[in-house]
Symmetry: C2
Subunit: 364 residues, 2 copies
């Protein structure tokens, strides 16, 4: 991952001597640790990667992770306890006067510890730099996202066979996750959303004990994580024939998505894509019912930082960004429709990474 | 959750006027947000809970989460954008002169934003206080962990039927995760470890494409997450008859675990439990091959902070702590054995929360 390390140094004006990517416990994980090390497995709680301008890296790991860590090309130093860790860290940082840190991915506690350990050092926030270089995917990353997208496409085709009247939302989620893993994914990309009926009106609902009834919308929002890279798609099914309102919602969202596909290319702004989609929906009977962004960057994280298709996203789209495109219409107490796909931004348009069909399927 | 909020204020000497629990993006999640709100569903990225000494709470949520948030008893304020969020946050904090923050669960970036927003305010680190009150589980929490443990027990009994020669590690992981969810868990508690043969010697290995061969150890380390609370067990299987070395490893680990069960009760120190177990293993032919802590606290997180059964854990065990007990022996290039269960600390001993049998099962 030398090119990534060189990239990040090259992208910083006031160059730090070294950068420390400090990884924390399980619920505070900085994916940049995995971005720069290329480690595909392991947890690496509390471990640190120290990056040097020449593309080299020191990797401070606990004994627990030493065998997993040995699979990558790095100068690996194994610590047994906190004192050990501090000693090794000091040795690695050597005479560094300025240390770059990802202020967005490190806890305040860890920063205070660094201040104590390195009282004469300047700490520089490199979060924007990291965020920016990570928005542009390299071929290795694009291939992994394509693989992840092909797994979610495969699963989507199987969903109609899994659904039956009366089933619980969590049962469908279990079936979807099972298929994702059986196809060789690390795991699901995020908590699979499997919502029925009026629950589909809650964009961030996951799944509960609700039973499927005739006439219900079924919203499945899921993705695969393959070697840490994610896909993220949403499809709508229905048990029985859709009524006029349901049909109209689905058609409007599908048209809105098509509009976004046609609009996106290198050089347009994320917020302008969103405005196009939002104003298209607001011109219809569904005014005001599209209540989230049109899309987000996708990669090592499901919501990969730096760029989005949201109302406040002024960043220009560039070739090799990977984004979701996911317009929706949500009617509280009735139901919601979202259709979501993954695209690669090209010079003159988009390449669809998720390819499964988008029609409203009656699964009865 | 008023009692939790009162508890945390009561536990702090220099009392802040209010506490802010700031939740971040998906990979930076502060589970204390869920601890204090009691929210079972939703992501709540970037949302904040403002806790008041009288047990009341303001909840700042985006539109996206407003319906999910409405299920709890809180003063809910919905924001549309960052400016909105800042305005609402200022209104909630009102005349607070001291604000408590969890320095372990908040990014440096968020702290810097708070400093900017509240230039005349003192910020107090309440991470140790939170950590301490969370180590003692209330009955509601114990019931959820028991439910999670009963799900992993159920899955453990099914594992022998799932295994066949030649299968991939990731296939077994997929089967385990499927059963966990089919039994009504939210999801698996963490990335299920399903390792074969010499991969079992890597404690934090997850699963890969290795095929199962005759004579291989099969290590399954998995748990269920039920309403956000976790179980975490490890069992060893073998395809075929174990050789003498394999048998000896398994027996030694089982004895070590039994020793820990007998030793643990209110009033003993975590490090002393670990020393007992470690020195027992070190007296055998497997000296130096137990390379991690004997156990960790379990709850909303799989590695719930505050207390552990590790070499540096000076904290006295107390009634109603929930811990894992998981001795292991790891021989690089050969294989590893770990046996892990979940216990509740009682006045005069332990209550086993996971109850499935621990023998070395030949699944051929």
């Amino acid at each position: 991952m030398e090119h990534r390390i060189k990239n990040i140094f090259n992208s910083i004006k006031t160059k730090p001597d070294i950068i420390i990517i400090k990884n924390s416990g399980e619920s505070i994980v900085d994916n940049n640790f995995f971005y720069f090390t290329g480690l595909e497995k392991g947890l690496f709680e509390g471990c640190s990667a120290i990056l040097f301008p020449d593309g080299k890296m020191d990797l401070l790991v606990s004994e627990l992770e030493s065998e997993t860590a040995s699979k990558i090309n790095a100068n690996i130093k194994i610590y047994k306890n906190k004192d050990d860790y501090n000693t090794l860290l000091k040795a690695s940082t050597n005479s560094a006067k300025k240390i770059g840190l990802n202020f967005n991915g490190i806890t305040y506690r860890n920063v205070l510890n660094f201040y104590e350990l390195f009282p004469n050092t300047d700490f520089i926030d490199i979060s924007n730099n990291i965020s920016k270089i990570r928005t542009i995917k390299d071929n290795y990353e694009i291939d992994l996202i394509k693989k992840a997208a092909s797994i979610s496409d495969h699963v989507k085709e199987k969903i109609p066979n899994l659904i039956h009247e009366g089933m619980h939302e969590y049962e469908l989620a279990a079936e979807i996750n099972y298929l994702i893993q059986k196809k060789g994914a690390d795991k699901e990309a995020f908590d699979t959303i499997s919502s029925f009926g009026k629950n589909t009106a809650e964009p961030h609902y996951s799944h509960g004990e609700t039973n499927l009834k005739y006439g219900d919308f079924i919203l499945c929002d899921f993705g695969a994580r393959y070697k840490r890279y994610n896909s993220d798609i949403t499809r709508i099914f229905i048990l029985g024939k859709p009524n006029e309102k349901q049909k109209a919602m689905h058609e409007k969202v599908l048209e809105a998505q098509k509009l976004a596909f046609d609009y996106i290319k290198q050089g347009v702004k994320g917020c302008d894509v969103h405005k196009e989609v939002e104003s298209f929906i607001n011109k219809s009977e569904f005014k005001g019912l599209f209540i989230h962004s049109t899309g987000h960057s996708l990669g090592l994280e499901v919501h990969d930082g730096g760029v989005s298709l949201g109302p406040e996203s002024n960043i220009m789209l560039e070739e090799n960004m990977v984004l979701t495109v996911e317009p929706g219409i949500y009617i509280p107490g009735f139901g919601g429709v979202r259709i979501e796909d993954n695209i690669l931004v090209k010079k003159d348009g988009v390449e669809l990474l998720s390819k499964s069909s988008r029609e409203l399927i009656d699964v009865s």
